[in-house]
């Protein structure tokens, strides 16, 4: 059944524990992310951000609860829902032995694009992300920033309606970060829903309107940045983060 105007992502009563672990990592997590939003998911190390991201994208299967992307349930045998979203994982997720063009050709085909569409999108993305000069070189020889741009290009090759980004700018220089954030803003302005995690809170402030703070496997705050700042009487995201999650080490 197709919902008339479904949210980009809806999560209800999600529980998750890793096999062999006694403690649940996520407990009864519920979250709704509207279409076209630029949504930030923040929390200390080990809070469960990456796990929640992996559950939303179907990399992991929940013990209880469900995830829907644009009204379509995740975790079924049908992989049609996977056409609707893209994922830029925290770990660099491509073949180091291949060039950017070869990686994009392979992942484009697996994303369901035909040869013509792959060629067009590859040319566009190589231009936008400044990879044209190195498009035929093996990625193994790239700098960290270039690898991050390739990681992003692969995640958006099929023009996904919803884009999950798990720390997409970790370990890059200011120029690369600026290029990536600018491109993500452009995507969001063109209607792509962004769901984003990062420890770069200033960068997150520039990109995200709506946020959720996760701590010890639970959502502890959710709303727009302005709403939450006013409610907790904090000037910025970093102060808000520390007031809600504390100053102790978590991992």
């Amino acid at each position: 059944m197709v919902i008339a105007n479904p949210p980009a992502v809806s999560i209800e009563g999600l529980d998750f524990r890793y096999p062999g672990s006694d403690a649940a990592l996520l407990t009864n997590v519920s979250l709704t992310i509207g279409k076209g939003e630029s949504f930030g998911l923040f929390g200390p190390n080990g809070a469960g951000k990456t796990t929640l991201m992996n559950l939303m994208t179907g990399v992991l299967n929940a013990n209880a609860g469900h995830v829907k992307i644009l009204g379509h349930p995740m975790g079924t045998t049908s992989k049609k829902v996977n056409r609707l979203f893209g994922f830029v994982p925290q770990d660099l997720s491509f073949y180091y032995e291949l060039s950017p063009i070869e990686n994009m050709e392979f992942y484009g085909a697996w994303a369901g694009l035909d040869r013509k569409r792959i060629k067009k999108r590859t040319a566009e993305l190589l231009h936008i992300l400044g990879l044209e000069d190195v498009k035929k070189k093996q990625v193994s020889k790239f700098s960290g920033g270039m690898k991050r741009r390739v990681n992003l290009a692969i995640g958006v090759i099929h023009n996904p309606l919803v884009l999950f980004l798990d720390e997409p700018t970790v370990g890059v220089d200011v120029q690369t970060r600026h290029a990536i954030i600018s491109y993500l803003k452009e995507l969001n302005e063109n209607g792509t829903t962004l769901i984003y995690t990062s420890h770069q809170l200033s960068e997150a402030e520039a990109l995200c309107r709506d946020i959720a703070l996760i701590d010890s496997g639970k959502i502890v705050a959710e709303g727009t940045l302005d709403e939450l700042s006013k409610k907790h009487k904090k000037r910025n995201l970093e102060e808000l983060f520390l007031s809600l999650t504390g100053k102790d080490f978590r991992d």
Binding site: N54, G86, F87, S93, F94, E97, L98, E105
Partner: protein, 427 residues
């Protein structure tokens, strides 16, 4: 089909760019086949054309020991190297070490007397059974000590040792028979046995006819290349596990697999691509090794490889063997958590399957229990197919019975892979 084609392209490029890996896949099996064939050929030549030197410390002054040494030389397996008469028997192991000899024989001083006594006893018994009275006063009491002793180096394999013992027994029997015959002749005729008659009766041994029985009624005697090239080609094809199982694990634990899981394509496409890509590699390995056997071996002094007459059967056998090797490698990769697990288990398991499968010791030489165990080795069925084709001149109908188990093992491996992927939520 487009996805599959692009995935095959991806796998092929990754494989081809790993130059060390690809060279190991081809260079190592080639070296293995050449070394094993060379060694077995030289051993074959040693056994059939050269003779093993045997030091002889002869303390006997009679004729029997000289006849024994001549008989040993005539057996064909050994060449007698006499030691000086003053050499002490108890120092023979030192002499063996000094002269780097693997074999030595110590003939005691009473050898001729003992042979003579034994022959006299045998002649007396024979005369008595003929109804003629033998000289019972000449019946001698013989000690239980062996007439001579063979010293050998522990490095000699038991099989070779047994062959040597057989040859020496044959030589000793010849000497003893000659002496018995002489005694008998003298007892009956009271004169010496004429040399011509002795030669006629003792030395005129009938040779044994040897015919190679094959399925195509050909009578060619298979050489070491015909044995070794097919056997070690199978081993090389299965050794692809080192590269393929590690590749499956690498993809499974790498970031690239996380993204693959989020894409609308089943990972089975990825596995199918790996099967096709690596099957092509195994077939290419077989082509390279067979070509080497045909074209290179004759130029380096090794017997050349003769391809079977039924090439269709050869191609089908090679494809099924390659597919089984690839299926095994993928199965191991799916159930391994690290590359070290995959490579370590993979390498050891292939060596075990090769041993059990008859690549190192023929299955016909195994006892009942091991013969049953050999049936679980895919290498065994593949080897049986190749031997049918390369050694017995068999056709497709002859290898069919061995192809079916190989095919069934392949399907079982595919099923296990599928179950493993399902259990790990990878498909």
């Amino acid at each position: 089909m487009y996805k599959l084609w692009i995935t095959i392209k991806k796998d092929a490029k990754i494989l081809l760019r790993d130059r060390t890996g690809i060279s190991l896949m081809f260079v190592m099996p080639i070296i293995l086949v050449m070394v094993v064939t060379s060694i077995q050929t030289s051993t074959f030549q040693l056994m059939n054309k050269s003779k093993l030197p045997v030091l002889v410390c002869n303390k006997d002054t009679g004729q029997a020991s000289l006849q024994l040494m001549a008989a040993i030389n005539r057996v064909g397996l050994l060449k007698v190297l006499p030691l000086p008469k003053d050499q002490a028997l108890d120092q023979i192991d030192k002499v063996m070490k000094d002269k780097d000899a693997e074999l030595a024989i110590a003939i005691p001083s009473n050898f001729s007397a003992r042979v003579s006594a034994k022959a006299q006893n045998a002649a007396n018994k024979a005369l008595k059974s003929f109804g003629l009275q033998g000289d019972s006063t000449k019946n001698n009491v013989l000690s239980n000590k062996p007439p001579f002793t063979l010293y050998f180096s522990p490095v000699l394999q038991e099989q070779l040792r047994l062959s040597i013992r057989g040859g020496l027994r044959s030589a000793l029997q010849l000497v003893e028979s000659r002496e018995t015959l002489r005694k008998l002749y003298f007892a009956i005729n009271e004169k010496q046995l004429p040399p011509a008659l002795e030669d006629e009766m003792i030395n005129n041994q009938s040779d044994i006819g040897m015919v190679s029985v094959s399925k195509n009624a050909g009578r060619e005697v298979p050489n070491t290349t015909q044995h070794n090239v097919p056997a070690w080609t199978i081993f090389a094809m299965f050794f692809i596990i080192m590269s393929l199982a590690a590749s499956v694990v690498r993809e499974k634990i790498s970031g690239s697999f996380i993204r693959l899981k989020t894409l609308p394509t089943n990972y089975l496409v990825g596995l199918l691509s790996k099967q096709i890509t690596y099957l092509c590699v195994t077939l290419f390995q077989a082509v390279v090794i067979f070509s080497m056997g045909i074209y290179l071996f004759p130029h380096i002094g090794l017997p050349g490889l003769n391809l079977p007459s039924d090439l269709t059967a050869l191609i089908i056998t090679t494809v099924v063997t390659g597919w089984c090797a690839v299926s095994y490698a993928i199965c191991v990769g799916v159930f391994s958590n690290t590359q070290i697990q995959a490579s370590g288990f993979g390498a050891v398991s292939i060596v075990i399957l090769a041993v059990v499968g008859g690549l190192m010791v023929p299955t016909f030489a195994m006892d009942g229990y091991m013969k049953t165990v050999s049936n679980i080795s895919p290498l065994h069925w593949s080897l049986e197919c190749y031997y049918d084709l390369f050694l017995l001149g068999g056709k497709l109908r002859d290898v069919f019975a061995n192809l079916i188990p190989l095919f069934i093992i392949t399907l079982v491996l595919q099923a296990l892979t599928f179950i493993g992927l399902k259990r790990q939520n990878l498909i």
